[in-house]
């Protein structure tokens, strides 16, 4: 076990994290856009053709204040007593001008079985775009680093809670992220004269210029255990771990509890002073190629030599998963 780690309940997508911009133009003409129009009249006096042009009338597009918060991880499986459990949100400026938003989280929400305990700090930006809470992420401090989002821009935000240790399997605890426009909120149509981009009027859009989204922590009760065993075969027909001897590893992953281990991945570093024996990776006795390809396993030397097997969603119904591979002592 000392060199094995299991990552459970991780939904990895290809999306980049952190600040971004949607390609689709959700709200139309940007605030402050001048819409210019000039008319022309051609006419004839006697036989002389003449042209008259109108003044150019300019309509400057006002700013719409709109924001949408979406839960990227609507349901997260947790275990009793877990700490630093993050849920991921996306805050999108669906208005048509650059806008600053304030973020607020709460976990005291009616309708659930337990209140997750907000961490301190409890809101982070996913600064390193890793999709999960990691040391490179920046804590959010209200009024200090409120996110400034361009029209259609978004930011990925992590809300972090701990799970009380008294919860039981299938309990649900809600947590919520709210974002509101710093210019102002209100019923749609509320106008903030001259407070929009470049001095145009700002008008509260259909969202009321604020938005919230809930995520659920679900006590899944799932637990993965891995039992690792090894056998040594030396080149002399013995079982001594001498240079040139081969070590056959066998790791059995067992699932217990009611939940699902989502996208479970087995990863094991090749021990120091040994070298992986190519072509020896197996999952439940099925041969896995060493390359990163369609099958579940691969061997990689970067950043460190390791083998990895994607186990998928595991429940107790999945039964034990046995991974084997071999190394040679240098």
């Amino acid at each position: 076990m000392q060199s094995s780690r299991i990552f459970g309940a991780v939904a990895v997508t290809a999306l980049a994290f952190g600040l971004g911009t949607n390609n689709a133009n959700a709200v139309g003409a940007p605030a402050g856009t001048p819409i210019n129009n000039t008319a022309q009249v051609d006419y004839t006096i006697g036989t002389v053709n003449t042209t008259a042009s109108s003044n150019t009338v300019t309509v400057t597009v006002a700013e719409i204040l709109d924001v949408v918060v979406t839960a990227q991880t609507p349901t997260v499986a947790v275990n009793a007593g877990d700490t630093q459990q993050e849920v991921r949100y996306r805050v999108t400026n669906t208005g048509n001008g650059s806008e600053t938003f304030r973020l607020v989280m709460t976990s005291t929400i009616a309708g659930d079985q337990f209140d997750p305990i907000p961490a301190t700090p409890s809101i982070y930006f996913d600064t390193d775009a890793s999709g999960d809470l990691s040391p490179g992420d920046t804590p959010y401090v209200v009024g200090s680093n409120d996110p400034v989002l361009s029209a259609d821009g978004f930011v990925t935000v992590l809300v972090v809670n701990s799970i009380p240790n008294w919860v039981v399997d299938t309990n649900i605890g809600f947590t919520r992220l709210t974002a509101d426009s710093r210019t102002g909120t209100g019923v749609p149509g509320t106008t903030f004269v001259g407070q929009g981009v470049g001095g145009v009027d700002a008008v509260v859009g259909t969202t009321g210029a604020d938005s919230e989204a809930d995520s659920s922590y679900v006590v899944s009760g799932v637990s993965l255990t891995a039992a690792k065993s090894q056998t040594v075969v030396d080149q002399f027909g013995g079982a001594r771990p001498v240079p040139g001897a081969r070590i056959n590893y066998s790791i059995v992953v067992n699932v217990t509890g009611s939940g699902s281990a989502i996208n479970a991945v087995f990863s094991d570093n090749i021990p120091a002073n040994t070298t992986y024996v190519p072509g020896t990776l197996r999952l439940n006795a099925a041969v896995l190629s060493d390359g990163a390809d369609a099958d579940a396993g691969d061997y990689s030397t970067t950043p460190a030599a390791r083998v990895r097997v994607t186990l998928g969603n595991l429940t107790t119904a999945s039964g034990p998963q046995t991974v084997t591979f071999a190394v040679v002592i240098n």
Binding site: G28, N37, G46, V48, T50
Partner: protein
């Protein structure tokens, strides 16, 4: 006109009286002045007796005659000299409206001869300016290709009118304008193109009328005779008196000024946000999705047009609302699914024929086009 004439006569008298004294005449005959070159003669006679015997009458002579009888003596006489007196006047006290590039635009003057007999005049027009602006407008461009034409219309010295040009031939002089008669003179000139001639700009022009000698076709100007009278010849005195607009009295020249005023169509465009989906009427904001109504008002400040056509562009970041176009309040159908003026379309004053915009600033003359777009 009699008063006018009398004033001129009195003024004339004052001129001649520079070196003369004499009570102003108590009454002027209402009739015509004595024509120049008329001989004025005087022969006095004397009857007397010598030693109680009546003698034959003796007639006078300029130097003294003692020869009795009808055959004796000679008249003392002189020829009436020429008092040249006339005035050029603009007829209607208003500028003539023109349009950029318009040629042969007509202005009208009147030339009145109050000399004591018929008089020839040279006439010419140019862009020379009066000392003060006229009709409240500063001159800002020059007209070109001046031509002058004598109106065939009847001219009254008593009542000013402004006749219409009727194809009269161009000329440079007025021959033998009778005493106390007048002629209307048309000045025609060409307007420069825009932007030299632009709406609201004006060009002031001058008519110069100079007394010219009889039969010279305007080629030879009259000249003031020397101080002493030649009793046997018709001497010339300049007696015109007008001093307005920089005129100099007694120089045989009278100037008058008129003005061309450029009037074009002015096209005014306004935009109003009709609705934005949220706000109450009148407070809608120009947010994406809002409906904007454009109003194009076309006012004619000049001459009646033909072929007036409006060309519109649906602005970037907006979408035309099908069927929303009106002309003078009446729906104007879309063309091929597009705003009907995008490719150019005829407009007109309400109740006017297509392409005709009548001059004026009231709703009866202004053409109004409206259409609506939504902001993307």
């Amino acid at each position: 006109m009699k008063i006018f004439k009398q004033q001129m006569r009195r003024a004339s008298l004052a001129v001649v009286a520079l070196g003369l004294i004499g009570a102003a005449p108590s009454a002027f005959a209402a009739g015509s002045d004595t024509n120049y070159s008329t001989p004025v003669t005087n022969t006095a006679s004397v009857n007397y007796s010598v030693s109680g015997v009546p003698q034959t009458v003796i007639n006078s002579s300029p130097t003294g005659n003692a020869t009795p009888g009808a055959g004796g003596g000679a008249a003392t006489s002189f020829l009436v000299d020429k008092r040249i007196m006339f005035i050029a006047e603009e007829t209607n006290g208003a500028a003539t409206v023109t349009s950029p590039g318009l040629t042969q635009v007509v202005t009208v003057f009147r030339v009145t001869n109050t000399s004591n007999g018929a008089q020839d005049f040279r006439i010419a027009a140019d862009n020379t300016q009066p000392p003060a602006i006229i009709f409240g407008r500063t001159d800002s461009f020059d007209m070109s290709n001046f031509t002058l034409h004598i109106s065939a219309a009847a001219c009254s010295t008593a009542t000013m009118s402004t006749p219409t040009f009727a194809g009269e031939a161009a000329t440079t002089f007025i021959p033998a304008l009778g005493e106390d008669t007048c002629k209307y003179v048309f000045v025609r000139s060409d307007t420069p193109v825009s932007p030299t001639a632009a709406n609201g700009l004006a060009s002031t022009i001058r008519l110069v009328v100079s007394a010219s000698t009889t039969g010279s076709s305007g080629a030879t100007l009259e000249t003031l005779s020397g101080a002493a009278d030649n009793a046997a010849a018709v001497d010339v005195v300049f007696a015109e008196t007008g001093v307005a607009d920089g005129n100099v009295i007694h120089n045989g020249v009278s100037m008058a000024f008129d003005q061309y005023f450029v009037g074009t169509l002015t096209v005014t465009k306004t935009a109003a946000v009709i609705s934005d989906g949220f706000s109450v009427a009148g407070q809608a904001k120009a947010i994406p999705g809002a409906v904007v109504e454009y109003t194009i008002s076309v006012q004619n400040n000049g001459l009646v047009t033909s072929g007036a056509a409006l060309t519109e562009i649906i602005p970037a970041n907006t979408t035309y609302i099908a069927g929303s176009t009106t002309l003078n309040g009446a729906a104007r159908a879309d063309v091929a699914g597009a705003m009907p003026f995008v490719g150019g379309g005829a407009i007109s004053s309400p109740s006017a024929a297509s392409g005709v915009i009548n001059p004026g600033s009231t709703a009866a003359e202004i053409a109004v086009v409206k259409f609506r777009v939504t902001i993307n």
